[in-house]
């Protein structure tokens, strides 16, 4: 099966980057100026307790041994232990993974729903008023900080109109959809302009492609040409754009989760930083990076599904 070969190849190619990521995560605790354990315990511990924690975390061994153990455990899904929360990091992170993933997928779908019609409209009316307005709107919303958009949406749709809850994750699928609508919309509002811009450009490219003229000469209707030839060709760059910007999307979600008090990975990160919970920070560093790499892999796969040429390589 080409899928396995394809994924396997990409994973092998990702090995150097994965090593680099693990090194960054590993060093996160060792580069802390001063004694990380004492900082974590905020000076409330006896020397014996500190030594005990050092031993428990394995931080009394040579660095190289520690790193090997760190990587070995991470591969098996063991991300260490949070001293502050007295729980395995993998468990803490695992609980937060669902709301964050839900939010990211929701936001991506919303931004596609916003971007595709507007991009099609802008491309069809290029250099006319609608096109200019859509592009201007993109510039403005690119400059809007997500925490500010979030607060405006809270003010308008939450506090004033009371249409949507302003915090939390909700219960059940419907509850999640309802609770996360405003956070997802916030993210979609800064992701959509980027999608619109690239989709519009890709559509203009695709519209002038010779095979579109050929399709027209065959007597196909404009709508069939648009959906069968132009959008399909233009969807390839969009998949790439989404994948390339997954890091940006995750960055945005960190802030948006804080604004809307969604108990996801982003809020966990901010909380861990303020409580100096280094094992959690380490674990999150790994998880975030793996999310980015995984998404890029999925995008490559989607790309290969749309355009079969890639498979042959």
């Amino acid at each position: 099966m080409w899928v396995f070969r394809f994924v396997g190849l990409r994973l092998v190619q990702a090995v150097p980057v994965l090593l680099g990521i693990s090194l960054v995560a590993f060093l996160a605790i060792h580069l802390v100026p001063g004694d990380p354990v004492r900082i974590m315990l905020q000076g409330r511990a006896s020397d014996a307790a500190v030594a005990e924690i050092y031993a428990r975390l394995g931080m009394d061994r040579p660095l190289l041994v520690q790193y090997a153990r760190f990587v070995g455990r991470a591969v098996t899904g063991d991300l260490g232990t949070s001293i502050i929360q007295r729980a395995p990091v993998a468990t803490i992170v695992g609980e937060r993974l669902v709301p964050s993933s839900f939010l990211l997928v929701y936001a991506t779908l919303l931004s596609v729903l916003i971007a595709v019609p507007l991009a099609v409209w802008a491309a069809a009316r290029r250099n006319r008023l609608a096109d200019h307005l859509i592009r201007l709107g993109g510039t403005v919303s690119f400059a809007m900080p997500s925490f500010w958009i979030g607060l405006i949406l809270i003010l308008g749709f939450g506090l004033t109109l009371k249409w949507f809850p302003i915090a939390g994750f909700g219960r059940g699928f419907g509850g999640h959809l309802h609770h996360l609508f405003l956070p997802a919309l916030t993210i979609a509002l800064f992701l959509a302009p980027l999608l619109i811009q690239s989709l519009r450009a890709a559509m203009l490219d695709a519209m002038t492609a010779e095979h579109v003229e050929v399709a027209r000469a065959k007597g196909l209707s404009e709508s069939r040409i648009l959906f069968k030839y132009v959008l399909r060709a233009a969807s390839i760059p969009v998949v790439t754009i989404l994948a390339v910007n997954i890091g940006w999307l995750v960055s945005g979600s960190v802030i948006v989760e804080s604004v809307f008090s969604v108990a996801g990975l982003g809020m966990l990160l901010v909380h861990a930083v303020s409580t100096r919970d280094y094992p959690v920070i380490q674990g999150l560093t790994l998880v975030f990076a793996v999310m980015v790499i995984g998404t890029n892999l999925l995008a490559d796969l989607a790309y290969a599904l749309i355009d079969k040429r890639v498979r042959a390589e």
């Binding site: 680099g20 100026p33 690119f142 500010w148 890091g247 100096r276």
Partner: protein
């Protein structure tokens, strides 16, 4: 590229080629910079002085943006914050650009182990969500303005290095370079003369949106409480301070946030105009 001589006629010709978005961007940015420079003369208030008697006042003729929970005039604080945010945004954009362009151009020129190592470092850095990496570095170093600088300097150069390296590779594959090589001319010198303007161009275009992103980053970090410490006026921190007062005092968060939008739009328009002016060759990603 056009010449850089600034004879009056050349300058006039240059200005004649500016697009409306470039004009509006430059005008808006100049307006904002001047407002920041002359803040003390534009407002009678002190950005730091607390006045509990005047707390949570809605916008009116005396307080255009209203006052916050400590009775500080928000318009005054927004003006002074121009200094904070633009200065941090400037340095966090252009120091990494300088580092990145030099490293990337050198790697593209030399190749070999230096290029290989640099590319692995860049790939690793770009595998992290940018904000997450910055937050992790701040978690190590502790929050604060100085550590924001260090964190962004450590990470921000990677995009520029990648851009500059790509430009250098394109240029070094061109026919005239090959011709020069076959004739035994020193390629490094030719490349620097021809490639550097291109390398810089694409980086300058990218730097305009990077500037916006960095202002959003700094204000975002301050919003999360990891950035510019209180009571220094800073837009993101001001928005955060208003978060708990949304219901009774909507202006605390919304109006300072508008300043971020205004500055971002100015820079984005400027970037748009520059992209067209410098030739529409470079599509920038983030």
């Amino acid at each position: 590229m056009t010449t850089t001589t600034l004879a009056p006629s050349a300058l006039r010709a240059e200005v004649a080629r500016w697009s409306p978005s470039l004009w509006i961007g430059i005008g808006l940015l100049a307006f904002i910079v001047l407002a920041g420079l002359f803040a003390p003369w534009l407002t009678p208030y002190d950005p730091l002085r607390q006045d509990y008697g005047a707390a949570l006042r809605a916008p009116d003729a005396a307080h255009w943006f209203g006052t916050d929970s400590l009775g500080r005039d928000l318009f005054t604080r927004s003006l002074y914050a121009i200094r904070t945010d633009l200065v941090i945004g400037f340095w966090t954009t252009y120091v990494p650009m300088l580092i990145g362009v030099l490293l990337g151009a050198y790697a593209g020129l030399k190749g070999g182990w230096f290029d290989a190592v640099l590319m692995r470092v860049i790939d690793t850095a770009l595998a992290f969500p940018f904000l997450v990496l910055i937050i992790v570095i701040l978690a190590i170093l502790g929050p604060g303005t100085q550590n924001i600088y260090i964190a962004v300097f450590l990470v921000g150069w990677t995009m520029y290095a990648r851009l500059a390296r790509a430009e250098m590779l394109v240029e070094s594959g061109k026919d005239y370079i090959l011709a020069a090589r076959t004739l035994g001319f020193p390629t490094a010198r030719i490349l620097l003369r021809h490639a550097l303007p291109n390398v810089i161009n694409s980086s300058i275009v990218f730097s305009m949106s990077d500037f916006v992103l960095n202002i959003l980053l700094v204000s975002g970090l301050s919003f999360l409480g990891l950035g510019v410490p209180a009571p220094t006026p800073e837009w993101g921190a001001m928005v955060a301070e208003g978060k708990d007062f949304m219901q009774q005092a909507w202006w605390i968060s919304t109006l300072p946030g508008l300043m971020i939008v205004l500055t971002g739009v100015a820079l984005a328009l400027l970037g748009d105009g520059l992209t067209h002016r410098l030739g529409d060759r470079h599509v920038t990603g983030h």
